[in-house]
Structure formats: C-alpha cells, structure tokens
Amino acid sequence: MLLIRCPYCGARDESEFSCGGESGISRPLNPDALSDEQWADYLFMRKNPRGAHQELWNHAQGCRRWFNVERDTVTYKIAATRPIGLKG
C-alpha cells in the first residue's frame, strides 16, 4: 500500500486515490494543425520510464483534486508530491 501525501489533505493510503498516468502532457491548442502522427503522439505515446516518473494522482475519496507525484517506477518510492503548476 503506497502512502501518498496529498498536498491538500496530508498523507493518506493509496486506496483513497486514483492514478492519472504521466503528467505534464498538455492538450494541443490547435489540433487541426497537427498531423495524424502528432495527434497520436499526444493521445497515446508515453514515456513509461524505468525510474523517476512524473505522474498525476487524484484524491478521489478525499478532496478530489488532482496533483503531481514524482515516483520511482522500480522502487515505488515517492520523491515528492506537488500541486499542479508548481515546479519541483
């Protein structure tokens, strides 16, 4: 069971959260200007790193806000949790 420190509520069990995958992906402002490959890159392609990962989590059974988590995908150790928009 991961222990995740929600920036708003404090440390809670993993079972209170839902995982949103890789963070830092912005929806393109002008999708019509993109090629099919560029649009596919936005929709589907992911870094999926072995190591440090920047990911989104939602405190689904608490404050229901999204926030960023930096977690190692091999050790599962959480290095930091941050509100959206704040750099580490």
Binding site: L43, K47, N48, V74, Y76
Partner: protein, 415 residues
C-alpha cells in the same frame, strides 16, 4: 538426452548432479543473422520458428536474467482464443492451433490441458455481450457456446449460484478447447527445441543500446559486449519502452504490475477455468492442487514485479464471491509481472521506423495464451521483413490511422 524411469532412478542415486543440460550456455558470437532480445516464451518461440520454419541458421536469444523469468514465469497459465474482433480472434486461434500440437512438436510435455474456459455473465448487458462474442467466434470458425445456470452448476459444483448474491451468475460463454498449460514448460520446451536447431541462448546478457547506421540496425550493445546483426527482434514485454527509447522510438505502452497467487494444494475441487469480468477474478486449479488466481493490474506504472496489498484483497473478494467455500483456503505464494498495456488491449507486432528493427510488445495481461502464435508471426515478420497477414493489423501505425482493435472486453482483465 533421453528421459525415462531408469534415468530418473539413476540420477536420483547420484544426487541429480549428472543430468545433461537441456540447452547449451555458449559465449555470444560477434555476429548473428538475427538477434532476438528477450528470452521469455515469445522470444524463444520466435527463435524456434525462425530456425524451423524459415531455415535461419545463425540466431541468438539474449536474455538479461534467466529464460522464462519474466512474465512467462508469472502468469495464470490460461489459454483461449475467444476474442471479439476477427483480427484478434484469428491471431489467438492460430496460437491455440499451435498449442494443440505443441508437446509433440517440441518433444516436451507443455501439459496443455483443454479443460474449458468459462467467461461468466452477471447481468443483462454481460449476457448480451456474451451472445455477441460467441456469435462472432462461431462466424470466425472458433468453438464457442453459451451455457445456462444449470449447466454451470453441474460442471462447477463449487461455484456460488445463489440468486441472492450481489452479482448472480446468469450464464457464461464456454470455449471447450481452452484451458491451461504449464508456463515454465513452454519456455523450456521452446528453449530446448531452439537450441537443438542451433540457436544460441545467451542468459545474463542485458541489452544496453541499439546500434544504428544510416537508419538501419547494425547490432546491440550488451553487458557481455557488442554483438552485430542486421536484424534485431525485440520482444521484452514490460520493458518495451525502455528498449524503444534506445532507438528514440515512443510507444503507446504503459507498464503496470500484474499480481497473481497460488493457494495451498487442495484435493481436486475445480476441473475447469472460470473467469468473471464483472466480479473481476479468474481461477483454475493446477495439477499440483493449488488454486491459481489472478485479477486486475495495479493502477500505477511499475517495473518492480510487485504491487499493492489492496489489489490482493480485491482479487480475494472476487474469488470468495464466486466460490464462498474457498474463504478459509490459505494463499501460499504471491508474485507480480510487468505487463505492457496498450490502449486497445491488443499487441504491436511489426517493423519499426529503423530498418531491420522489429518489435513485438503490448500483449499486456494476455500474452501467455499467445506464446506460440506470437513467436510464429514474429518469426515470419523478421524472416520476410514483412508482417504475416495475421499480424499486419497490429502495427504501430494504427494509433495514427485510428484503426485500433478494441479487445478490452475479451481481454477480461481490468485496466
């Protein structure tokens, strides 16, 4: 090496120290005609079919750990081909037909037991989807039936058929030719057969880089030195993105933990495979007597080959809902794999943007059943530098064209 009751007895008396190795442990050569990266079931099958069906002589399988130590050794051993869409159904059916002759072909008992696979329906929508999938299977020449509650109770006495349960069982699809096989045996069977065809199986050899020149593959960098080849087939399951990054290729893959468990051995209580999408668990009983149980992936990405305890609890809830009498059975072992999840729950098998580089990945939670079929089509793709018609629809380009093949329903494992 001939195995017999006499050889068992003879070797028992010499403390089992004199068995002949079933495959060689060669030093890597400087150059091969084909390098297969990944020594799991799919990679070993690919090497075997490259040698046997396509006459390729000089093949190496590079495995960073020990063969079959990844997802091949960590699955719940279910084999079936009852997928919805024609493209997927035909690929899994090809694999099932290879399973049916595999022990004979490899001269190694893979213990393929066609004891049937039930996919349960718990509500009207489940039953409609079952009707649709069974019809689709029949149209594609794949055996499929719908069974009602009476037949389910007769064939699976231990199952909870109470109409008062939270998710009552209304019916099921049944593929009689489906069943289970011994996962380790598949790896070892393909390994021994490939080695006999001259394939070099190189273990403890991790690929750390892909070497290119002018847009073509020239070889690999490994922890045991550089090895040259004009053809490199990468089939590393959960580590697909790691290898793809070595050629600056992005994949639509996310690698998640998938846990599984076996119970203490029991007397025979379940002689078929039961899967429930809604209640979310799947179970069979191995020949050793242990219940083999699996459920959904852990939600976060992970390469740790382990997951969270709450996932174990969810799996147990599902099994006890279906089989209340298992509530006091003790779980004996738990483990995890790294499953390469693809957005449409279908694999990516084909050529990459670098000439001579081929990837076979994205099987996610459903790769074990495809082991022989995956190797067979991947071998064809590498040998001919062109996909077989069975794997042509499963290209990386489908994510740009939109031609996704959505098999989340038939995959029957929560993503």
């Amino acid at each position: 090496m001939k195995y017999s009751a006499f050889s068992l007895l003879r070797n028992a008396f010499s403390y089992n120290r004199k068995w002949q190795p079933a495959w060689r442990d060669p030093e890597p050569k400087k150059k091969y005609d084909v390098i297969i990266v990944g020594g799991g079931g799919h990679g070993l099958a690919t090497a075997y079919y490259l040698a046997k069906e396509h006459g390729v002589q000089n093949i190496a399988v590079l495995e960073k750990g020990y063969i079959g130590g990844g997802n091949t050794g960590r699955n719940t051993t279910i084999v079936r081909s009852n997928y919805l869409w024609t493209e997927a159904a035909l690929l899994y059916e090809k694999s099932m037909q290879l399973w049916e002759g595999l022990s004979q072909d490899l001269n190694y008992n893979v213990m393929y037991s066609q004891r049937g696979v039930y996919n349960l329906g718990h509500n009207l929508q489940d039953m409609r989807e079952i009707e649709r999938r069974v019809s689709a299977n029949i149209l594609n020449g794949i055996d499929a039936e719908i069974v009602g509650p009476d037949e389910i109770k007769a064939n699976i006495p231990a199952i909870n058929m109470s109409r008062n349960s939270r998710y009552p069982i209304l019916g099921a699809s049944l593929q009689r030719r489906g069943g289970i096989a011994r996962h380790d045996a598949v790896a070892w069977g393909f390994a021994r057969a490939a080695d006999a065809q001259g394939v070099d199986i190189i273990q403890q050899c991790e690929v750390t880089g892909l070497k290119q020149s002018n847009g073509s593959i020239t070889g690999v960098k490994t922890t045991r030195g550089d090895i040259m080849s004009d053809k490199v087939g990468v089939v590393v399951a959960g580590n697909a993105s790691v290898l793809a990054a070595m050629a600056d290729i992005r994949l639509p893959i996310e690698s998640h933990p998938l846990q599984a468990f076996v119970s203490e051995p029991l007397k025979p209580v379940l002689d078929t495979v039961v899967m429930s999408g809604a209640v979310h668990g799947y179970i069979s009983q191995s020949d050793k007597g242990d219940l083999v149980i699996g459920a959904g992936i852990d939600a976060y990405t992970g390469y740790g080959q382990r997951g969270s305890f709450m996932t174990i609890e969810h799996a147990m809830q599902a099994i006890i809902e279906l089989f209340p009498r298992f509530s006091r059975v003790r779980m004996l072992r738990q483990w995890g794999g790294i499953v390469d999840i693809c957005p449409d729950a279908c694999p990516i098998i084909g050529k990459m943007p670098v000439t001579g580089l081929y990837f076979n990945c994205g099987w996610g939670t459903g790769g074990f059943k495809a082991t022989p079929g995956s190797g067979w089509v991947f071998a064809h793709t590498i040998a001919h530098d062109h996909p077989h018609e069975l794997n042509a629809p499963f290209d990386l380009a489908r994510f740009s064209t939109g031609a996704l093949i959505d098999e989340h329903g038939a995959a029957a494992v929560a993503h």
